[in-house]
Protein backbone atom coordinates (compact mmCIF):
# COMPACT_ATOMS: atom_id res chain seq x y z
CA UNK A 1 0.00 0.00 0.00
CA UNK A 2 1.31 3.40 -0.91
CA UNK A 3 1.98 5.64 2.05
CA UNK A 4 -0.36 8.56 1.42
CA UNK A 5 -0.32 10.66 4.57
CA UNK A 6 -2.86 13.17 3.35
CA UNK A 7 -5.32 10.39 2.70
CA UNK A 8 -4.66 8.98 6.17
CA UNK A 9 -5.23 12.39 7.73
CA UNK A 10 -8.56 12.66 5.94
CA UNK A 11 -9.57 9.26 7.21
CA UNK A 12 -8.46 10.08 10.71
CA UNK A 13 -10.42 13.33 10.58
CA UNK A 14 -13.51 11.33 9.70
CA UNK A 15 -12.81 9.25 12.82
CA UNK A 16 -12.11 6.15 10.77
CA UNK A 17 -9.83 3.63 12.40
CA UNK A 18 -6.65 3.01 10.42
CA UNK A 19 -5.58 -0.60 9.84
CA UNK A 20 -3.31 -2.07 12.49
CA UNK A 21 -0.38 -2.27 10.08
CA UNK A 22 -0.78 1.38 9.23
CA UNK A 23 -0.78 2.28 12.91
CA UNK A 24 2.44 0.33 13.36
CA UNK A 25 4.07 2.15 10.46
CA UNK A 26 2.75 5.51 11.64
CA UNK A 27 4.19 4.89 15.10
CA UNK A 28 7.54 3.85 13.65
CA UNK A 29 7.74 7.00 11.57
CA UNK A 30 6.74 9.11 14.55
CA UNK A 31 9.43 7.53 16.73
CA UNK A 32 12.06 8.11 14.07
CA UNK A 33 11.07 11.75 13.91
CA UNK A 34 10.85 12.27 17.66
CA UNK A 35 14.22 10.64 18.21
CA UNK A 36 15.81 13.66 16.55
CA UNK A 37 13.95 16.13 18.77
CA UNK A 38 15.61 17.35 21.96
CA UNK A 39 13.92 17.03 25.35
CA UNK A 40 13.32 20.75 25.09
CA UNK A 41 11.96 21.90 21.78
CA UNK A 42 12.31 25.51 20.63
CA UNK A 43 9.54 27.07 18.55
CA UNK A 44 8.89 30.60 17.42
CA UNK A 45 5.72 32.61 17.98
CA UNK A 46 3.06 32.93 16.66
CA UNK A 47 1.99 29.62 18.07
CA UNK A 48 -1.11 28.08 19.63
CA UNK A 49 -0.81 26.03 22.82
CA UNK A 50 -3.34 23.30 23.56
CA UNK A 51 -3.90 21.70 26.98
CA UNK A 52 -5.37 18.30 27.92
CA UNK A 53 -7.82 16.86 25.37
CA UNK A 54 -8.28 13.35 26.85
CA UNK A 55 -9.71 11.51 23.87
CA UNK A 56 -12.49 14.01 23.20
CA UNK A 57 -12.09 13.65 19.46
CA UNK A 58 -14.89 15.95 18.33
CA UNK A 59 -13.57 18.69 20.55
CA UNK A 60 -10.15 18.24 18.96
CA UNK A 61 -11.74 18.80 15.55
CA UNK A 62 -13.36 21.88 17.04
CA UNK A 63 -9.93 23.06 18.22
CA UNK A 64 -8.67 22.97 14.64
CA UNK A 65 -11.77 24.81 13.42
CA UNK A 66 -11.24 27.53 16.01
CA UNK A 67 -7.46 27.70 16.09
CA UNK A 68 -6.82 27.05 12.40
CA UNK A 69 -5.91 23.93 10.50
CA UNK A 70 -2.46 22.36 10.22
CA UNK A 71 -0.10 23.57 8.90
CA UNK A 72 -1.58 27.11 8.77
CA UNK A 73 -1.35 27.31 12.55
CA UNK A 74 1.73 26.24 14.49
CA UNK A 75 0.61 23.99 17.37
CA UNK A 76 2.09 22.94 20.68
CA UNK A 77 0.06 20.22 22.41
CA UNK A 78 0.82 19.86 26.11
CA UNK A 79 -0.05 16.18 26.54
CA UNK A 80 -2.84 14.02 27.99
CA UNK A 81 -4.15 13.06 24.57
CA UNK A 82 -5.62 9.78 25.78
CA UNK A 83 -7.77 8.28 28.59
CA UNK A 84 -11.17 9.24 29.93
CA UNK A 85 -12.79 10.35 26.64
CA UNK A 86 -14.40 7.88 24.23
CA UNK A 87 -11.98 8.37 21.35
CA UNK A 88 -8.44 8.20 22.65
CA UNK A 89 -7.41 5.93 19.76
CA UNK A 90 -8.81 8.24 17.10
CA UNK A 91 -7.39 11.31 18.83
CA UNK A 92 -3.83 10.06 19.13
CA UNK A 93 -4.03 8.64 15.60
CA UNK A 94 -4.97 12.03 14.19
CA UNK A 95 -2.32 13.88 16.18
CA UNK A 96 0.43 11.45 15.16
CA UNK A 97 -0.61 11.69 11.50
CA UNK A 98 -0.36 15.47 11.71
CA UNK A 99 2.95 15.27 13.53
CA UNK A 100 4.46 13.01 10.89
CA UNK A 101 3.03 15.11 8.05
CA UNK A 102 3.99 18.52 9.48
CA UNK A 103 6.83 17.84 11.95
CA UNK A 104 7.84 21.50 12.19
CA UNK A 105 4.30 22.78 12.72
CA UNK A 106 3.17 20.30 15.36
CA UNK A 107 4.87 19.70 18.69
CA UNK A 108 3.68 16.97 21.03
CA UNK A 109 4.70 17.19 24.68
CA UNK A 110 4.33 14.20 26.96
CA UNK A 111 1.66 14.26 29.65
CA UNK A 112 1.31 11.97 32.65
CA UNK A 113 -1.30 9.94 30.77
CA UNK A 114 1.18 9.12 27.99
CA UNK A 115 2.32 6.23 30.12
CA UNK A 116 1.71 2.48 30.16
CA UNK A 117 0.71 2.22 33.81
CA UNK A 118 -1.75 5.13 33.72
CA UNK A 119 -3.45 4.11 30.45
CA UNK A 120 -4.17 0.66 31.88
CA UNK A 121 -6.31 2.22 34.56
CA UNK A 122 -7.93 5.15 32.81
CA UNK A 123 -9.32 3.69 29.62
CA UNK A 124 -6.84 3.87 26.73
CA UNK A 125 -5.69 0.28 27.11
CA UNK A 126 -9.25 -1.04 27.12
CA UNK A 127 -10.21 1.18 24.21
CA UNK A 128 -7.32 -0.16 22.13
CA UNK A 129 -8.36 -3.72 22.93
CA UNK A 130 -11.96 -3.02 22.01
CA UNK A 131 -11.19 -1.26 18.74
CA UNK A 132 -8.37 -3.59 17.68
CA UNK A 133 -7.96 -7.21 18.65
CA UNK A 134 -5.22 -7.86 21.15
CA UNK A 135 -3.02 -5.31 22.85
CA UNK A 136 -0.59 -4.66 20.00
CA UNK A 137 -1.92 -1.27 18.97
CA UNK A 138 -1.70 -0.10 22.56
CA UNK A 139 1.94 -1.18 22.67
CA UNK A 140 2.68 0.70 19.40
CA UNK A 141 1.18 3.90 20.78
CA UNK A 142 2.73 3.63 24.22
CA UNK A 143 6.13 3.01 22.61
CA UNK A 144 5.76 6.35 20.81
CA UNK A 145 4.87 8.00 24.12
CA UNK A 146 8.39 7.20 25.34
CA UNK A 147 9.74 9.49 22.61
CA UNK A 148 7.56 12.57 23.19
CA UNK A 149 9.40 15.72 24.26
CA UNK A 150 9.28 17.03 27.83
CA UNK A 151 9.21 20.78 27.33
CA UNK A 152 8.88 23.55 24.76
CA UNK A 153 10.35 27.03 24.81
CA UNK A 154 8.50 29.59 22.74
CA UNK A 155 10.66 32.40 21.33
CA UNK A 156 13.17 31.95 24.19
CA UNK A 157 10.60 33.39 26.60
CA UNK A 158 7.72 31.08 27.47
CA UNK A 159 8.34 27.63 28.93
CA UNK A 160 5.64 25.03 28.25
CA UNK A 161 5.40 21.81 30.26
CA UNK A 162 2.57 19.43 31.12
CA UNK A 163 2.54 19.53 34.92
CA UNK A 164 5.03 21.77 36.63
CA UNK A 165 8.42 22.42 38.13
CA UNK A 166 10.72 20.03 39.98
CA UNK A 167 13.05 20.68 42.90
CA UNK A 168 15.67 18.77 40.89
CA UNK A 169 15.47 21.14 37.94
CA UNK A 170 16.81 24.67 38.21
CA UNK A 171 17.91 25.23 34.66
CA UNK A 172 16.77 24.30 31.20
CA UNK A 173 20.01 22.40 30.69
CA UNK A 174 19.01 20.06 33.48
CA UNK A 175 15.84 19.23 31.55
CA UNK A 176 17.93 18.71 28.40
CA UNK A 177 20.05 15.97 29.94
CA UNK A 178 17.20 13.81 31.28
CA UNK A 179 17.14 10.38 29.64
CA UNK A 180 13.57 10.65 28.46
CA UNK A 181 13.23 7.58 26.22
CA UNK A 182 11.52 5.41 28.79
CA UNK A 183 8.33 4.84 30.75
CA UNK A 184 7.58 7.76 33.07
CA UNK A 185 9.25 6.87 36.39
CA UNK A 186 7.47 7.06 39.74
CA UNK A 187 9.78 9.75 41.01
CA UNK A 188 12.53 12.11 39.97
CA UNK A 189 12.64 15.14 37.66
CA UNK A 190 10.86 13.53 34.70
CA UNK A 191 7.93 12.50 36.92
CA UNK A 192 7.79 15.96 38.47
CA UNK A 193 7.53 17.68 35.07
CA UNK A 194 4.36 15.77 34.22
CA UNK A 195 2.81 15.48 37.68
CA UNK A 196 3.47 18.55 39.83
CA UNK A 197 0.98 21.33 40.48
CA UNK A 198 1.22 24.98 41.39
CA UNK A 199 -0.64 26.23 44.42
CA UNK A 200 -1.56 29.77 45.24
CA UNK A 201 -1.67 30.39 48.96
CA UNK A 202 -2.36 33.70 50.62
CA UNK A 203 0.43 35.19 52.67
CA UNK A 204 3.83 33.55 52.73
CA UNK A 205 2.57 30.22 54.00
CA UNK A 206 4.14 28.47 51.03
CA UNK A 207 7.81 28.87 50.34
CA UNK A 208 9.79 26.67 48.02
CA UNK A 209 8.41 23.26 47.21
CA UNK A 210 6.02 21.43 49.51
CA UNK A 211 4.68 17.89 49.59
CA UNK A 212 1.32 16.84 48.31
CA UNK A 213 -0.88 15.53 51.13
CA UNK A 214 -1.39 12.40 49.01
CA UNK A 215 2.11 11.24 49.82
CA UNK A 216 3.65 11.59 46.35
CA UNK A 217 4.26 14.65 44.20
CA UNK A 218 5.43 18.20 44.74
CA UNK A 219 3.51 21.42 44.92
CA UNK A 220 5.29 24.60 43.92
CA UNK A 221 4.53 28.17 44.82
CA UNK A 222 5.07 31.66 43.49
CA UNK A 223 8.62 32.15 44.78
CA UNK A 224 9.84 28.95 43.12
CA UNK A 225 8.25 30.00 39.88
CA UNK A 226 9.82 33.47 40.00
CA UNK A 227 13.20 31.96 40.78
CA UNK A 228 13.03 29.55 37.85
CA UNK A 229 12.01 32.30 35.43
CA UNK A 230 14.84 34.57 36.61
CA UNK A 231 17.56 31.93 36.41
CA UNK A 232 16.56 30.94 32.90
CA UNK A 233 15.64 34.38 31.61
CA UNK A 234 12.03 33.46 30.86
CA UNK A 235 8.89 35.54 31.22
CA UNK A 236 6.19 32.96 31.71
CA UNK A 237 5.38 29.29 32.29
CA UNK A 238 2.43 27.72 30.53
CA UNK A 239 1.23 24.30 31.69
CA UNK A 240 -1.88 22.10 31.50
CA UNK A 241 -2.85 19.11 33.70
CA UNK A 242 -5.54 20.73 35.84
CA UNK A 243 -9.19 21.21 34.98
CA UNK A 244 -10.41 24.82 35.09
CA UNK A 245 -14.06 25.77 34.80
CA UNK A 246 -13.22 28.82 32.67
CA UNK A 247 -10.83 26.87 30.43
CA UNK A 248 -7.75 28.58 31.79
CA UNK A 249 -6.32 30.00 34.98
CA UNK A 250 -3.67 32.64 35.52
CA UNK A 251 -1.61 32.43 38.69
CA UNK A 252 1.31 34.05 40.50
CA UNK A 253 0.97 37.57 39.21
CA UNK A 254 0.78 36.36 35.60
CA UNK A 255 4.00 34.35 35.83
CA UNK A 256 2.16 31.08 35.22
CA UNK A 257 -0.95 29.96 33.44
CA UNK A 258 -2.91 26.73 33.08
CA UNK A 259 -4.55 25.94 29.75
CA UNK A 260 -7.28 23.30 29.64
CA UNK A 261 -8.66 22.16 26.27
CA UNK A 262 -11.27 19.49 27.07
CA UNK A 263 -14.65 21.26 27.21
CA UNK A 264 -17.47 19.58 29.14
CA UNK A 265 -14.84 17.20 30.49
CA UNK A 266 -15.91 13.55 30.49
CA UNK A 267 -19.05 14.76 28.68
CA UNK A 268 -20.71 15.99 31.85
CA UNK A 269 -18.68 18.53 33.83
CA UNK A 270 -19.98 21.54 31.93
CA UNK A 271 -16.65 23.41 31.93
CA UNK A 272 -15.24 25.66 29.22
CA UNK A 273 -11.98 24.98 27.40
CA UNK A 274 -9.40 27.23 25.80
CA UNK A 275 -6.51 27.54 23.39
CA UNK A 276 -3.64 29.79 24.31
CA UNK A 277 -2.85 31.82 21.22
CA UNK A 278 0.56 33.46 21.43
CA UNK A 279 0.96 36.28 18.96
CA UNK A 280 4.07 37.42 17.08
CA UNK A 281 4.82 39.94 19.83
CA UNK A 282 4.32 37.19 22.48
CA UNK A 283 0.98 38.62 23.54
CA UNK A 284 -1.11 35.87 25.11
CA UNK A 285 -4.77 35.36 24.31
CA UNK A 286 -6.93 32.58 25.73
CA UNK A 287 -9.42 31.65 23.05
CA UNK A 288 -12.22 30.14 25.10
CA UNK A 289 -14.64 27.65 23.64
CA UNK A 290 -17.44 25.33 24.76
CA UNK A 291 -18.09 21.71 23.84
CA UNK A 292 -18.67 21.22 20.14
CA UNK A 293 -22.37 21.15 19.26
CA UNK A 294 -24.06 17.76 19.34
CA UNK A 295 -24.97 17.84 15.66
CA UNK A 296 -21.27 17.78 14.84
CA UNK A 297 -20.74 14.56 16.73
CA UNK A 298 -21.81 11.18 15.58
CA UNK A 299 -23.45 9.15 18.31
CA UNK A 300 -21.29 8.46 21.32
CA UNK A 301 -20.84 4.86 22.47
CA UNK A 302 -23.59 5.08 25.05
CA UNK A 303 -26.01 5.67 22.22
CA UNK A 304 -24.14 3.26 20.00
CA UNK A 305 -24.84 -0.29 19.14
CA UNK A 306 -23.60 -3.57 20.50
CA UNK A 307 -24.23 -7.03 19.21
CA UNK A 308 -27.18 -8.83 20.67
CA UNK A 309 -24.89 -11.64 21.75
CA UNK A 310 -22.68 -9.31 23.76
CA UNK A 311 -25.70 -7.84 25.42
CA UNK A 312 -27.13 -11.20 26.37
CA UNK A 313 -23.74 -12.05 27.81
CA UNK A 314 -23.84 -8.91 29.88
CA UNK A 315 -27.34 -9.64 31.07
CA UNK A 316 -26.43 -13.17 32.05
CA UNK A 317 -23.73 -11.77 34.25
CA UNK A 318 -26.20 -9.33 35.69
CA UNK A 319 -28.52 -12.24 36.29
CA UNK A 320 -26.04 -14.04 38.50
CA UNK A 321 -25.63 -11.01 40.67
CA UNK A 322 -29.30 -10.35 40.82
CA UNK A 323 -30.18 -13.93 41.65
CA UNK A 324 -27.90 -13.78 44.61
CA UNK A 325 -29.90 -10.81 45.77
CA UNK A 326 -33.20 -12.37 44.79
CA UNK A 327 -33.81 -9.91 42.03
CA UNK A 328 -35.09 -12.47 39.57
CA UNK A 329 -38.36 -10.70 38.98
CA UNK A 330 -36.85 -7.40 38.09
CA UNK A 331 -34.40 -9.16 35.83
CA UNK A 332 -37.27 -10.62 33.86
CA UNK A 333 -38.68 -7.21 33.23
CA UNK A 334 -35.31 -6.03 31.92
CA UNK A 335 -34.91 -8.94 29.58
CA UNK A 336 -38.30 -8.21 28.06
CA UNK A 337 -37.25 -4.70 27.54
CA UNK A 338 -34.18 -5.93 25.69
CA UNK A 339 -36.10 -8.34 23.52
CA UNK A 340 -38.36 -5.56 22.36
CA UNK A 341 -35.37 -3.62 21.24
CA UNK A 342 -34.06 -6.26 18.89
CA UNK A 343 -33.93 -5.17 15.30
CA UNK A 344 -33.95 -7.42 12.27
CA UNK A 345 -30.20 -7.03 12.18
CA UNK A 346 -29.83 -8.67 15.57
CA UNK A 347 -28.54 -5.40 16.95
CA UNK A 348 -29.95 -3.61 19.96
CA UNK A 349 -29.09 -0.27 21.39
CA UNK A 350 -27.08 -0.54 24.54
CA UNK A 351 -28.30 2.78 25.81
CA UNK A 352 -31.88 1.93 26.54
CA UNK A 353 -31.15 -1.31 28.30
CA UNK A 354 -28.30 -0.15 30.47
CA UNK A 355 -30.26 2.90 31.44
CA UNK A 356 -33.21 0.76 32.41
CA UNK A 357 -30.95 -1.46 34.46
CA UNK A 358 -29.32 1.39 36.30
CA UNK A 359 -32.67 2.86 37.24
CA UNK A 360 -33.49 -0.19 39.32
CA UNK A 361 -30.71 0.39 41.81
CA UNK A 362 -31.23 -0.64 45.41
Amino acid sequence: MAWDLDALIEKAQRRELLPENTIRELCNKAKELLLSEDNVRHVQAPVTVVGDVHGQFYDVLEIFRIGGQCPDTNYVFLGDYVDRGYYSVETITLLLCLKVRYPDRVTLVRGNHECRAVTQVYGFYNECCEKYKGGLVWSYFTDVFDYLVLAVVISDTILCIHGGLSPSLHTLDQIRVIDRFREIPHDGPMADLVWSDPQQVDGDEISGFTLSPRGAGYIFGEDVTRHFLEINGFGHICRAHQLCMEGYQILFDDMLSTVWSAPNYCYRVGNMASLLEIGPGLERYFNVFAACPDDQRTSDPQGGEVSFKALVQELLMEEDERKSKDFQKSYDSYSQNVALDVQDTGIVTNFRTSKTLSQYFI
Partner: protein
Protein backbone atom coordinates in the same frame (compact mmCIF):
# COMPACT_ATOMS: atom_id res chain seq x y z
CA UNK B 1 -48.28 -2.72 53.22
CA UNK B 2 -50.43 -4.06 50.43
CA UNK B 3 -50.00 -2.42 47.08
CA UNK B 4 -52.44 0.38 46.57
CA UNK B 5 -52.92 2.79 43.75
CA UNK B 6 -50.17 5.37 43.43
CA UNK B 7 -50.82 8.68 45.19
CA UNK B 8 -51.72 11.49 42.84
CA UNK B 9 -48.60 12.73 41.20
CA UNK B 10 -47.38 15.33 38.78
CA UNK B 11 -43.97 15.75 37.16
CA UNK B 12 -42.54 19.22 36.93
CA UNK B 13 -39.54 20.92 35.37
CA UNK B 14 -38.22 24.42 35.77
CA UNK B 15 -34.88 25.19 34.13
CA UNK B 16 -32.19 23.10 35.81
CA UNK B 17 -34.70 21.78 38.35
CA UNK B 18 -37.03 18.89 37.79
CA UNK B 19 -39.01 16.68 40.03
CA UNK B 20 -42.21 15.06 41.06
CA UNK B 21 -45.01 16.07 43.38
CA UNK B 22 -46.54 12.88 44.72
CA UNK B 23 -49.03 12.66 47.58
CA UNK B 24 -47.64 14.76 50.41
CA UNK B 25 -44.14 14.81 48.93
CA UNK B 26 -42.13 16.96 46.62
CA UNK B 27 -38.92 15.52 45.33
CA UNK B 28 -36.67 17.55 43.08
CA UNK B 29 -33.17 17.65 41.66
CA UNK B 30 -31.21 20.62 40.42
CA UNK B 31 -28.35 20.09 38.01
CA UNK B 32 -25.90 22.75 36.89
CA UNK B 33 -22.27 22.77 35.67
CA UNK B 34 -19.35 22.75 38.11
CA UNK B 35 -18.71 25.93 40.08
CA UNK B 36 -16.86 28.73 38.34
CA UNK B 37 -14.00 30.50 40.07
CA UNK B 38 -16.19 33.20 41.65
CA UNK B 39 -18.46 30.54 43.12
CA UNK B 40 -15.45 28.54 44.27
CA UNK B 41 -14.16 31.61 46.11
CA UNK B 42 -17.47 31.88 47.95
CA UNK B 43 -17.42 28.20 48.89
CA UNK B 44 -13.82 28.56 50.07
CA UNK B 45 -15.01 31.03 52.70
CA UNK B 46 -16.91 28.16 54.34
CA UNK B 47 -14.71 25.21 53.49
CA UNK B 48 -11.06 25.47 54.43
CA UNK B 49 -9.75 22.41 52.57
CA UNK B 50 -8.64 22.54 48.91
CA UNK B 51 -11.87 21.99 47.01
CA UNK B 52 -12.39 18.96 44.79
CA UNK B 53 -11.55 19.37 41.14
CA UNK B 54 -15.19 19.09 40.10
CA UNK B 55 -17.46 20.74 42.59
CA UNK B 56 -21.09 20.75 41.56
CA UNK B 57 -21.93 23.27 44.24
CA UNK B 58 -25.19 24.29 42.61
CA UNK B 59 -26.51 20.76 42.42
CA UNK B 60 -29.04 19.67 44.97
CA UNK B 61 -31.54 16.97 45.76
CA UNK B 62 -34.50 17.87 47.92
CA UNK B 63 -37.04 15.54 49.47
CA UNK B 64 -39.73 17.59 51.22
CA UNK B 65 -42.89 16.56 53.04
CA UNK B 66 -45.99 18.65 53.48
CA UNK B 67 -45.48 18.59 57.26
CA UNK B 68 -42.30 20.65 56.84
CA UNK B 69 -39.76 17.85 57.19
CA UNK B 70 -37.15 17.81 54.45
CA UNK B 71 -33.91 16.11 53.56
CA UNK B 72 -31.53 18.01 51.33
CA UNK B 73 -28.29 16.77 49.82
CA UNK B 74 -25.66 19.26 48.70
CA UNK B 75 -21.92 19.26 48.19
CA UNK B 76 -20.90 22.06 50.53
CA UNK B 77 -22.44 20.41 53.61
CA UNK B 78 -20.79 17.15 52.59
CA UNK B 79 -17.37 18.80 52.28
CA UNK B 80 -17.78 20.45 55.67
CA UNK B 81 -17.50 16.95 57.18
CA UNK B 82 -14.19 16.11 55.52
CA UNK B 83 -11.42 15.74 58.10
CA UNK B 84 -8.98 18.68 58.14
CA UNK B 85 -7.10 17.95 61.35
CA UNK B 86 -3.26 17.97 61.16
CA UNK B 87 -3.18 14.14 61.08
CA UNK B 88 -5.89 13.87 58.44
CA UNK B 89 -3.56 13.57 55.46
CA UNK B 90 -1.72 10.63 56.99
CA UNK B 91 -4.66 8.23 57.09
CA UNK B 92 -4.29 7.19 53.46
CA UNK B 93 -1.36 7.54 51.08
CA UNK B 94 -1.17 6.77 47.38
CA UNK B 95 0.46 3.52 46.28
CA UNK B 96 3.66 5.16 45.09
CA UNK B 97 4.08 7.06 48.34
CA UNK B 98 6.60 4.85 50.13
CA UNK B 99 9.06 4.72 47.26
CA UNK B 100 8.45 8.31 46.26
CA UNK B 101 9.00 9.54 49.80
CA UNK B 102 12.24 7.56 50.16
CA UNK B 103 13.63 9.20 47.03
CA UNK B 104 12.39 12.61 48.05
CA UNK B 105 13.91 12.36 51.51
CA UNK B 106 17.20 11.30 49.96
CA UNK B 107 17.37 13.94 47.24
CA UNK B 108 15.37 16.79 48.76
CA UNK B 109 15.44 16.18 52.49
CA UNK B 110 14.66 19.80 53.22
CA UNK B 111 11.24 19.50 51.58
CA UNK B 112 9.11 17.92 54.26
CA UNK B 113 6.18 20.23 54.79
CA UNK B 114 2.61 19.59 53.71
CA UNK B 115 0.77 22.86 53.42
CA UNK B 116 -2.74 22.62 54.78
CA UNK B 117 -3.07 18.88 55.43
CA UNK B 118 -6.56 17.47 54.93
CA UNK B 119 -8.14 14.14 54.13
CA UNK B 120 -7.37 14.31 50.44
CA UNK B 121 -9.65 11.30 49.80
CA UNK B 122 -12.59 13.60 50.56
CA UNK B 123 -14.16 10.85 52.66
CA UNK B 124 -17.38 12.16 54.13
CA UNK B 125 -20.01 10.64 56.39
CA UNK B 126 -22.53 13.18 55.20
CA UNK B 127 -25.96 11.66 54.96
CA UNK B 128 -28.11 14.60 54.05
CA UNK B 129 -29.29 17.69 55.87
CA UNK B 130 -32.55 17.05 57.73
CA UNK B 131 -34.67 19.96 58.81
CA UNK B 132 -38.15 20.90 59.90
CA UNK B 133 -39.97 23.95 58.74
CA UNK B 134 -42.09 25.41 61.52
CA UNK B 135 -45.70 26.52 61.47
CA UNK B 136 -48.63 25.07 59.67
CA UNK B 137 -48.21 23.01 56.55
CA UNK B 138 -49.69 25.83 54.50
CA UNK B 139 -47.53 28.45 56.27
CA UNK B 140 -45.16 28.64 53.32
CA UNK B 141 -42.18 30.88 53.02
CA UNK B 142 -42.10 32.84 56.28
CA UNK B 143 -41.21 29.79 58.34
CA UNK B 144 -37.59 29.07 59.05
CA UNK B 145 -36.24 25.58 58.69
CA UNK B 146 -34.43 24.25 61.75
CA UNK B 147 -32.08 21.30 61.75
CA UNK B 148 -33.51 18.20 63.37
CA UNK B 149 -32.05 14.82 64.30
CA UNK B 150 -33.34 11.55 63.04
CA UNK B 151 -33.90 8.91 65.73
CA UNK B 152 -32.35 5.42 65.81
CA UNK B 153 -34.77 2.99 64.27
CA UNK B 154 -35.41 -0.73 64.49
CA UNK B 155 -37.06 -0.71 61.15
CA UNK B 156 -34.97 -0.51 58.03
CA UNK B 157 -35.66 -0.18 54.36
CA UNK B 158 -38.24 -2.56 52.96
CA UNK B 159 -36.15 -4.43 50.40
CA UNK B 160 -39.09 -6.54 49.28
CA UNK B 161 -40.86 -3.39 48.30
CA UNK B 162 -37.87 -2.24 46.29
CA UNK B 163 -37.36 -5.43 44.34
CA UNK B 164 -41.02 -5.81 43.42
CA UNK B 165 -41.38 -4.88 39.76
CA UNK B 166 -42.98 -1.50 39.62
CA UNK B 167 -42.96 1.24 37.04
CA UNK B 168 -40.65 4.14 37.78
CA UNK B 169 -42.55 7.40 37.86
CA UNK B 170 -39.46 9.56 38.28
CA UNK B 171 -35.77 8.77 38.07
CA UNK B 172 -32.78 11.06 38.22
CA UNK B 173 -29.11 11.03 39.11
CA UNK B 174 -26.59 13.74 39.80
CA UNK B 175 -23.07 14.30 41.06
CA UNK B 176 -22.22 16.56 44.01
CA UNK B 177 -18.46 16.42 43.73
CA UNK B 178 -15.75 14.43 42.08
CA UNK B 179 -11.98 14.44 42.30
CA UNK B 180 -9.53 12.33 40.35
CA UNK B 181 -7.02 12.44 43.21
CA UNK B 182 -4.37 13.63 40.76
CA UNK B 183 -4.81 10.44 38.72
CA UNK B 184 -4.43 8.20 41.74
CA UNK B 185 -8.03 7.05 41.77
CA UNK B 186 -11.33 8.77 42.28
CA UNK B 187 -13.56 10.21 44.96
CA UNK B 188 -17.14 10.73 43.86
CA UNK B 189 -20.19 11.80 45.80
CA UNK B 190 -23.28 11.14 43.72
CA UNK B 191 -27.02 10.70 44.08
CA UNK B 192 -29.64 8.56 42.43
CA UNK B 193 -33.32 8.49 43.10
CA UNK B 194 -36.37 6.67 41.92
CA UNK B 195 -40.03 7.15 42.72
CA UNK B 196 -42.47 4.30 42.27
CA UNK B 197 -46.24 4.11 42.92
CA UNK B 198 -45.68 2.54 46.35
CA UNK B 199 -42.46 4.14 47.60
CA UNK B 200 -39.38 6.18 46.82
CA UNK B 201 -35.67 5.65 47.35
CA UNK B 202 -32.74 8.04 47.35
CA UNK B 203 -29.22 6.66 47.29
CA UNK B 204 -26.34 8.96 48.02
CA UNK B 205 -23.05 7.19 47.42
CA UNK B 206 -19.54 8.27 48.32
CA UNK B 207 -17.23 6.10 46.26
CA UNK B 208 -13.49 6.16 46.85
CA UNK B 209 -10.90 4.31 44.85
CA UNK B 210 -7.25 4.81 45.65
CA UNK B 211 -5.46 2.79 42.99
CA UNK B 212 -3.67 -0.23 44.44
CA UNK B 213 -4.51 0.88 47.96
CA UNK B 214 -8.15 0.91 48.96
CA UNK B 215 -11.83 0.98 48.03
CA UNK B 216 -14.48 2.58 50.20
CA UNK B 217 -18.21 3.14 49.80
CA UNK B 218 -20.36 5.19 52.15
CA UNK B 219 -24.01 4.75 51.19
CA UNK B 220 -26.93 6.73 52.51
CA UNK B 221 -30.40 5.52 51.59
CA UNK B 222 -33.51 7.52 52.25
CA UNK B 223 -36.73 5.56 51.85
CA UNK B 224 -40.41 6.08 52.34
CA UNK B 225 -43.45 3.91 51.70
CA UNK B 226 -46.49 5.94 50.82
CA UNK B 227 -49.09 5.52 53.52
CA UNK B 228 -46.56 5.07 56.31
CA UNK B 229 -45.70 7.95 58.63
CA UNK B 230 -41.93 7.60 58.73
CA UNK B 231 -39.03 8.51 56.55
CA UNK B 232 -36.25 5.97 56.93
CA UNK B 233 -32.54 6.56 56.51
CA UNK B 234 -29.89 3.87 56.41
CA UNK B 235 -26.18 4.55 56.35
CA UNK B 236 -23.52 1.96 55.65
CA UNK B 237 -19.78 2.31 55.29
CA UNK B 238 -17.75 -0.44 53.69
CA UNK B 239 -14.14 -0.69 52.67
CA UNK B 240 -11.54 -3.22 51.63
CA UNK B 241 -7.96 -3.26 50.41
CA UNK B 242 -7.70 -2.76 46.66
CA UNK B 243 -5.89 -6.07 46.16
CA UNK B 244 -8.57 -8.22 47.73
CA UNK B 245 -11.28 -6.68 45.55
CA UNK B 246 -9.10 -6.86 42.46
CA UNK B 247 -8.66 -10.60 42.90
CA UNK B 248 -12.31 -11.08 42.12
CA UNK B 249 -12.11 -8.98 38.97
CA UNK B 250 -12.86 -11.37 36.13
CA UNK B 251 -10.02 -10.63 33.80
CA UNK B 252 -6.78 -9.83 35.54
CA UNK B 253 -5.63 -7.17 33.10
CA UNK B 254 -8.99 -5.45 32.80
CA UNK B 255 -9.05 -3.09 35.73
CA UNK B 256 -12.01 -1.14 34.42
CA UNK B 257 -14.38 -3.00 36.76
CA UNK B 258 -12.56 -1.35 39.64
CA UNK B 259 -13.79 2.02 38.43
CA UNK B 260 -17.42 0.85 38.46
CA UNK B 261 -18.97 1.78 41.80
CA UNK B 262 -21.84 -0.66 41.35
CA UNK B 263 -19.52 -3.55 40.70
CA UNK B 264 -17.28 -2.63 43.61
CA UNK B 265 -20.30 -2.19 45.86
CA UNK B 266 -21.51 -5.73 45.11
CA UNK B 267 -18.01 -7.08 45.86
CA UNK B 268 -17.72 -5.21 49.14
CA UNK B 269 -21.13 -6.51 50.21
CA UNK B 270 -20.00 -10.07 49.59
CA UNK B 271 -16.81 -9.52 51.51
CA UNK B 272 -18.45 -9.04 54.88
CA UNK B 273 -20.46 -6.76 57.14
CA UNK B 274 -20.17 -3.00 56.84
CA UNK B 275 -17.79 -1.04 59.05
CA UNK B 276 -20.68 1.19 60.06
CA UNK B 277 -24.40 0.53 59.75
CA UNK B 278 -26.99 2.95 61.08
CA UNK B 279 -30.76 2.93 60.79
CA UNK B 280 -32.70 6.05 61.63
CA UNK B 281 -36.11 7.47 61.02
CA UNK B 282 -38.17 10.58 61.45
CA UNK B 283 -41.93 10.85 61.76
CA UNK B 284 -43.45 12.90 59.01
CA UNK B 285 -47.02 12.89 60.23
CA UNK B 286 -49.69 10.65 58.85
CA UNK B 287 -51.72 13.28 57.05
CA UNK B 288 -53.41 11.67 54.12
CA UNK B 289 -55.10 13.57 51.42
Amino acid sequence: MSATAAPRHRLFADGPTKGIAIGDWQIATTKRPICNSAELDRVAEWISIPLPEMLFGNNELVVAHRSGVSVVFNAVEALALVDDTPESADKTKVAASAQWTRTSVKTHGSIHKVVRPYDWTYTTEYCGTVSQRGGSPEGESQDRAVAIQMQPSEVGINIQRLIAPEPILFYDELVLFEDELADNGAAVLSLRMRVMPSCFLVLQRFFLRVDNVLLRINDTRVFHEFGSDVLIREYTSREAPYESVKQSAAAAQDLSAMTDANWVSARLEQMGPPVVHRRESVVVGSSKS
